[in-house]
């Protein structure tokens, strides 16, 4: 009781000093509240983003690693590196490591970390007869295109499951060869499950006429885009005959079971160059995976060997490009699966990669920058605040040395006197903490939003600058995230949807951390006083005073 009464009297007696301490604590608390709420909100946003995130990953050749291996091999063989020799080594290495088969991919999919396994296979076929591939430019003779030896090389025609290629640019005639395969003007994609048809799952594509095909049957039933159907006056129930680009007498007839419309056809006229009409999403013919397998098997049975312009022997057999995507519930599962692949013996030439995860991690960059800034701010505020408070406490105790001497002389134990100083500091700190909490609660959300917007704008500016350096101008065409929350430019044409809003309100977690900080500062500041009190000798103090 003595301690409390003395402490309260001392606080009311020295109003100026205690108001100053209270204001300092309030400023520390307000700044800490802002920093802590930003960190907390950033952490919550990251956790929330992770819980909502579905990651897909695919196993593919680690081309970077192969290139490094090829170059390393050259380095050991000769004093100087020959680029052409390096490329030959690279080709040899790539031939050593073919794409994994569906069976192999499915073997790895048998993992507790994999939520789903989506697979598809694609073939490149030519149109025949009156059917033509959709093209923005004048119609060309697609039949001849397969025979055109001057056609340019193209990117791999196989499409990742559910990812539509960009349209536009290329006129009718398709290129002939890529990677030893003949290339047609249509892409026939066989899906293993409805889940793997992500463009239908997410609503980009919708069946507008007819019905869905049976994905378990090799029945040659297909879905075509409404643009392709309209372009060729096709209707449900009609058949289309497609040919092997390398052997135009080898044909396959598909029956149109349904026609779908797509929301993704607005990219016509994009700056992205197109090498083949088969890359146009309108020229995708969707079948079941067994249908693609059946076509592949049939083609193999009638294949002949030919010699290409370079004198190499090439088979006319159609070769489907298989794509398998693993679905993960969280980044942790993705990382665990990656480690598991190595444990299961996956050759180091192959790697697991995910554009989803990369995009997700990129989307967190502004948030992480802000969180890091908030942490730095917190440490600075706490450090400076602690020094100021301890200094004030020390001066305050020295000023009250006589009081300490009198109290101990009349029999108040030193620990009680010290406790009185602790209680004084604690009471003042609590008041300051409450004021700081109020101010912090009011200013945290707008400050956090403002700082995050600045971070997002800075990140977008950096990305756009990189894109401009590579000649990519507004590939995504999305509005700036800071303004509309839409996707913003990421590197290499990847859309990064930056997290641009956080809820930096004070909750009990932040309040309890602030209380701990306030208490800690009060204890630290009064501890300095306690040390002085315990060192004081009442007789010396009173003698000096006398």
């Amino acid at each position: 009781m003595l301690v409390i009464i003395n402490a309260v009297k001392a606080i009311t007696r020295s109003k100026g000093r205690n108001i100053l301490i209270m204001l300092i604590v309030a400023v520390i608390a307000a700044a800490s509240a802002v920093a802590l709420s930003i960190r907390h909100a950033a952490s919550e946003a990251e956790t929330s983003g992770q819980s909502d995130l579905t990651i897909t990953g695919a196993i593919g050749l680690d081309r970077q690693k192969l290139m490094e291996s090829a170059q390393a091999g050259q380095s050991t063989d000769g004093a100087t590196q020959d680029p052409a020799a390096s490329m030959d080594s690279m080709r040899e290495l790539m031939q050593q490591y073919p794409d994994l088969t569906l069976d192999q991919l499915q073997t790895y999919a048998d993992s507790s970390y994999v939520a789903d396994f989506l697979y598809s296979a694609s073939l490149s076929l030519d149109t025949t007869g009156d059917v033509e591939a959709v093209s923005d430019q004048a119609s060309s003779d697609t039949t001849d295109s397969a025979e055109d030896p001057s056609a340019t090389e193209s990117s791999d025609p196989s499409m990742p499951s559910g990812q539509d290629p960009q349209r536009g640019g290329f006129a009718g005639g398709g290129p002939t060869m890529f990677g030893g395969r003949s290339m047609g003007d249509l892409t026939v994609i066989g899906y293993g499950s409805e889940a793997s048809m992500t463009s239908f799952v997410d609503g980009t594509n919708q069946i507008s006429d007819g019905s869905m095909i049976d994905l378990t049957q090799a029945d040659n039933a297909c879905l075509v885009s409404d643009e392709f159907a309209s372009f060729n006056s096709l209707a449900v129930g009609d058949t289309i005959t497609l040919a092997n680009p390398a052997a135009d007498t080898e044909t396959y007839t598909l029956t149109i079971a349904g026609i779908y419309q797509s929301d993704s056809s607005s990219t016509s006229g994009s700056d992205i160059p197109m090498f083949s009409t088969s890359q146009d999403s309108a020229n995708q013919v969707i079948v079941s995976y067994p249908t693609v397998s059946s076509i592949e098997t049939s083609s193999a049975s009638v294949a002949t060997d030919t010699t290409d312009s370079q004198g190499d022997t090439v088979s006319t057999a159609l070769s489907a490009s298989t794509s398998g995507d693993y679905v993960f519930a969280s980044p942790a599962d993705y990382n665990a699966f990656d480690a598991e692949l190595t444990a299961k013996g996956l050759d180091s030439a192959y790697t697991l990669s995910s554009s989803d995860l990369e995009n997700y991690e990129a989307s967190l960059v502004p948030l992480q920058n802000l969180s890091s800034f908030a942490q730095t701010l917190l440490w600075i505020v706490l450090g400076v605040g602690a020094v100021v408070l301890v200094t004030i406490a020390i001066f305050s105790i020295r000023e009250r040395k006589y009081e300490v001497g009198v109290l101990t002389a009349i029999g108040v134990a030193k620990p009680k006197v010290a406790l009185q100083f602790v209680v004084e500091m604690f009471l003042v700190a609590v008041l300051g903490l409450l004021v700081g909490l109020g101010v912090g609660a009011a200013v945290s959300p707008p400050i956090a939003s403002s700082l995050l917007s600045a971070q997002v704008a800075q990140q977008e500016s950096q990305s756009q600058s990189v894109d401009q350096n590579f000649g990519r101008v507004n590939i995504q065409g999305g509005p700036p995230a800071a303004q509309g929350g839409g996707p913003s430019g990421g590197g290499f044409g990847q859309a990064v949807d930056y997290i641009n809003q956080i809820n930096a309100t004070l909750d009990w977690s932040v309040i309890s951390q602030l209380a701990a900080i306030g208490l800690g500062l009060a204890v630290l500041a009064s501890a300095a006083g306690v040390v002085f009190v315990m060192r004081y000798d009442p007789l010396t103090i009173l003698s000096n005073r006398s």
């Binding site: 009781m1 003595l2 009464i5 003395n6 009297k9 007696r13 009081e403 001497g405 009198v406 109290l407 101990t408 002389a409 009349i410 029999g411 108040v412 134990a413 009442p538 007789l539 009173l542 005073r545 006398s546």
Partner: protein, 238 residues
């Protein structure tokens, strides 16, 4: 039985000659003692030893038969002994009454109506309500002296130590203070006054004198003589 006992105590500051040595004095209840000596003889140092604020360099100070060095001296200072310091040592930001109450609270004794008791004590030493509620800073030296006395009495200690309690007072007030301290002794307390004043020395029961050389206290019974003289005078006047 002696309440306070000095057993051949000596005291010296570090590296200096002993201030005093070989003191073997006893102090009993119900008596008023005077300690005299010239300046620098160690009167205030001795008072500090008796108050438990420091330890003798040799010998022991015993309270109620126990060595002061072995007991809780905060408790001793807050309950068993009341010290009236020469420079009062009051807390200037508190009122006179608050200073007295503070000592009551510090004693840890269960004292009811502290406010009323402090006002009564201050009234007893001549400070009315108005002065009792005035901050000590705004009181005169004599008034502060009275507050210091009231504070020393507030928790009813067995021993009262007073260092020059009349040094700042006029003659009338001096007499008042001596009367109060005499009354304390009459009520059963052991009252020890460190003083230069011959008037005070004449009023005490026993006097101990500090000398530069080891000394033996010189006792007197002057107070009894003075009291007897007073009684005779009163009887004569009647």
């Amino acid at each position: 039985m002696s309440l306070l006992e000095l057993n051949n105590i000596s005291y010296s500051y570090a590296g200096a000659a002993p201030v005093f040595s070989g003191l073997a004095w006893t102090f009993e209840e119900n008596k008023l003692y005077g300690i005299t000596g010239r300046s620098g003889a160690g009167k205030t140092t001795l008072l500090s030893l008796l108050a438990g604020l420091t330890n003798p360099t040799a010998g022991t100070v015993r309270f109620d038969g126990r060595d002061l060095a072995s007991i809780d001296r905060y408790r001793y200072r807050s309950q068993d002994i009341g010290v009236i310091f020469q420079s009062f040592n009051l807390l200037p930001h508190l009122t006179a009454a608050e200073n007295v109450e503070l000592s009551m609270r510090a004693s840890g004794k269960k004292l009811d109506h502290k406010r009323d008791k402090s006002l009564a004590l201050l009234d007893r030493v001549g400070l009315g309500n108005e002065l009792a509620n005035r901050r000590v800073l705004k009181l005169s030296g004599g008034e502060q002296q009275r507050v210091a006395i009231a504070r020393a009495l507030s928790y009813d200690p067995k021993i009262i130590l007073a260092d020059e309690p009349t040094g700042n007072l006029d003659l009338n007030t001096q007499n008042d203070i001596i009367d109060i301290l005499s009354d304390m002794a009459d009520e059963g307390k052991c009252v020890i006054i460190v003083t230069h004043s011959p008037d005070v020395v004449r009023s005490v029961d026993e006097v101990y004198e500090l000398r530069a050389a080891p000394v033996q206290g010189r006792k007197s019974r002057r107070r009894e003589a003075v009291a007897a003289q007073k009684a005779a005078d009163q009887g004569g006047s009647d």
